[in-house]
Amino acid sequence: MNALETFGLGVRYGQSWAVRDCTLSIEEGHVVALVGSNGAGKTTLLHCAVGLTEATCGTISVLGDLRAGSDEALARVAFVAQDTPLYRHLTVTEMVEVAANLNRSFDLPFATARLRQLDIPAKRRVGKLSGGQQAQLALTLALARHPDLVILDEPLARLDPVARHDVMALVLSMAAEEGISVIFSSHVVSELERVADYLVLMAHGSLQLTGPIDEILASHTVLAGPADDADRVATQCSVVHVEQAARRVQLLVRHDQSVDIPPGWEASPPSLDELVLAYLRDPSVVGRSGPLALAATRAGGTLR
């Protein structure tokens, strides 16, 4: 079953497309990181997935074939928006009661137990909680509905490192215990590799790179070699990013299966950080297509 599936999805605001030609299919059970620069279309895509924004063209469905935003879908999907919407003047206990009354299925014992575990003072007003505690409260209220899919828009923005760790730990332990799927958008590139196992990279409303992180890493290689040989090598494979130095050049290349390393060149696996940054720096690079694999060269070892 797919947690999220889109086909030719497009959203237009006036003259400009916030999301265009977006075709995705993500199996359930993943923790998906949605990454892109400001204005890349991340929030619009997430809003489509919960029915807050209507698609201009194409289709989007969640948890198999449930139409995004339909009653059946909303009963099983939880969404926490960027600004953690809570009633600031209520106490924590009152906020939990409101959430319990507004939602058809709400696990009150679960919510109170979690909040106690998180050391969130029940009598304090929501507005007086720290940013991390507010994020944890919003998340707990979302998780208390025992959803099958949790969608989080920038859950880590505005949080300090400790709160970031605790919030992600809360989401991930729910993923471990109940096998729920998680989709979250983020600017924090450095922690992705630990937390997520599926990556969706967006630029200017289009998908730039998507797939399980293992596979993405395996299909990219950093080649370092002499600068005067760079043009020849660059014509033989799809280059994502070029780093120039005196006499030497470093290429991040994408390939389908194995790479024949050109003689005189060194190959090493990229880290997820450098890979994501390389794509973000050049939004015109689309990693899903293009001429792939280095042409066979006479000498040199084979990678993978």
Partner: protein
Amino acid sequence: MTIVKRETEKPRSPLIFRLDPRSGVPTYLQLVHQVEHAIRLGYLLHGDQLPRLKDVVASLSINPNTVQKAYRHLEQEGLIGARPGQGTFVLASPETVGLAELEALRKRLVDGWLRDAAAAGLDEEGIAALFASALRDFRERQSDTAHGSQLRRARAPREAGGVA
């Protein structure tokens, strides 16, 4: 100073995982290495429980699939086994080296070789480099004679078709 324990439940496993994000080693392999290391040094004994999936995930804030991948890897190596509904337990035991023996070896290293090396004027990095290179030589000489595995598997890996 007193150490305040926030944990409501008593930890069941003697093992605590930690991650080094700068090591460049994939996260699941770091977990694998730490279990192997703990078994080798006798911190983890036959029958000891490994941290539960949700506890590892919550304490390190990492992807559950990563932990499962590490445990699957260790299971295939025959080092650990899962008991349904109970958890994951150590099947292997360290080869002959007991804690007392380890302590004696360590003492000989500290009071003997390390002291001599420091007296000869080697700094910490020099000592580490010399030890690493000597260990490499030693390993190469060993592997010429026999390839002795350092961990005794409790049972043959499944594909070898051991006795049940």
